[in-house]
Amino acid sequence: GFFGNWGGVYLPEILRETFDRLEEAYQQARNDPSFWQEYLQLMSTYSCRPTPLTYAENLSKHFGGAQIYIKREDLNHTGAHKANNVMGQGLLVKRMGKKRVIAETGAGQHGVATATMAAKFGLECTIYMGEVDVQRQRPNVFWMEKMGATVVPVKDGSRTLKDAINEAFRDWVSNIDDTHYVLGTACGPAPFPEMVSWFQSIIGTEAREQIERYHGRPPKRVYACVGGGSNAMGIFQGFLEDKKIELVGVEAGGDGLETGRHAARLAGGDASPGVAQGYKTMFLQNDDGQMRETHSVAAGLDYVGVSPILSHLWEEGRVRFEAATDTEVLAALELTMKKEGIIPALESAHAFAQAFKEASDLSPEDAIVINMSGRGDKDIFTVAHAFNDPSWKEFIIERAREYQKG
């Protein structure tokens, strides 16, 4: 369960048995070629895999440097790479014979993906979500409920993601026999980081084959945003062994690294090694080891820890980490919409922002791949708000007026 100095299973004894069984099921699945076949089949019929690799002709010309290719995880069912992990774990749940899944969710995407999987596999589903997030992310709560999930607003603590995770663990330790906790990213105690990365490796495998087919050879660089790190691990795995390909993880620079209001763990110097939520990695914490508040315009990157596998690749120098600020991200999002008719999620737009900073340093002979982890149109409330769109505000106020009348 360790990757260099990182990872592990730092868990209360009560969960040990459950993790042993999960580890066992995961290893069996991993050693059973028919499992991956079943997974591929599911993803190509229920979701839209392989997802396309889109040549961004206009952006490439605009920057006059590298040829820019975009891996389109936004075209997955439910609109993001989250589906890969969730459907994979769904198959594992079936194998383990469990009848119920639980998950935590912040902005709600992982919750929607899990509720979707639960509907598809006929599982009971409970989603823990901080009360504050429930209020902020009504649309996602609406869809989760419509897909049959029970959404539990967590009223403890800061009533956000961290507390939802705590509450999900609490549910799990009380219901270990029939319940599986569908962790949403390549973090947490082993085997989650490795297992989630395995399911997400489908991105990299496809992207590697696609870029070589379209471009004739491997790319110079691959960019991915890093929150927990699952989409980055997903695409990087297709290129990890070829040391000539530079891998760039882009974290949330928030208001700027110098302000302290950000979520950059591996870029910048604010994070330090720590152990929390069951695993060892680089955390944004104070000198006492208390986790800090993080900030990002993108809820999915707004997290204190990071995949232990990425901490390892960072320490080894295999992956370069950078940060993009909220302002840079909104500019990159706007440019991508205008030039390509593509709407990256705010999370994904971090990868775009960094790639845009660097594209013109490369030659038109070179290609780069940006992982578009999800689509932004589902985040209309966040994006329109981030752009401070006055017509949007009027629209909401007008709608509210109608509802207040009714």
Partner: protein, 254 residues
């Protein structure tokens, strides 16, 4: 004297020992001081003092809230050491630190053991550090002669208990049921089987925690365990009725 020895000495005069729990800095160090005074006066045998952590994954809502409010009021780890030093000098019962591994790790493991030893602490309870993950930690525990309290769970197999016992000193903390701190436990037949398994796996004293709230709960453990642990209940009491309510409550338990 080692923690185990102290507890065995105390046990000679009592059917069952009592361990209580406080969250440092919640509602304040002053209140902690008063609560501990009450506890010691009313016959508590051992106190675990929780150094608050921002991510207390194994704790239920009451202790979680106490952790977060303590931190919100600015509690630092160094203050916890100072407070421990004061308490161990003042009161003649063993004090333990309870916290999560990151607090120890970030402080520096060896330094943590050194300073805890120096502060008169007898043992550490770190629920998210299984022995497999804590080679250095358990080595320092031995070096500095602080008891690294091991936790058993109802899901632990007899083999697992044996293995865990190999790393344990002081006593074994037997979690009475699945779930987190602060909820009810059913002290039924399954529970008796569980405690027999615990007993068979180790010669160390057995402490039983999670959900103990009344004299009846404590009585039920006599003959089966060496120490009853009262956790969230005293925090609730202080929240509702203030530190003064703790003494009568503790006195009523035995």
């Amino acid at each position: 004297m080692t923690l185990e020895k102290i507890l065995r000495e105390k046990k000679k005069d009592k059917d069952i020992l009592l361990m209580t729990h406080i969250v440092l800095g919640y509602p304040s160090f002053a209140a902690n001081r008063e609560v501990i005074e009450q506890m010691v006066k009313n016959g508590v045998d051992c106190i675990e003092m929780q150094i608050p952590f921002s991510e207390p994954m194994a704790d239920g809502p009451v202790i979680l809230k106490a952790n977060q409010e303590s931190l919100a009021r600015g509690t630092r780890v160094a203050q916890c050491f100072d407070f421990a030093r004061e308490m161990t000098r003042k009161h003649q019962i063993p004090f333990l630190f309870m916290t999560y591994y990151n607090i120890v790790f970030k402080y520096g493991e060896e330094r943590f053991f050194q300073d805890a030893k120096e502060a008169g602490i007898k043992g550490l309870i770190v629920p998210d550090l299984p022995p497999e993950m804590g080679e250095d930690y358990f080595a320092y525990a031995e070096q500095y002669q602080l008891a690294p309290i091991i936790i058993y769970a109802p899901t632990s197999t007899p083999e697992r208990m044996k293995t865990l016992a190999g790393s344990a000193t002081g006593f074994i903390y037997c979690a009475a049921r699945r779930g987190v701190t602060g909820n009810n436990s059913a002290l039924d037949e399954n529970f008796d089987n569980y405690l027999s398994n615990c007993r068979a796996a180790t010669t160390l004293p057995l402490a039983v925690g999670f959900g103990i709230k009344s004299k009846a709960d404590v009585q039920a453990l006599i003959g089966k365990a060496d120490m009853a642990v009262i956790g969230s209940q005293t925090i609730r009491l202080v929240d509702e009725n203030g530190p003064k309510a703790v003494g009568p409550f503790v006195a009523s338990l035995r």
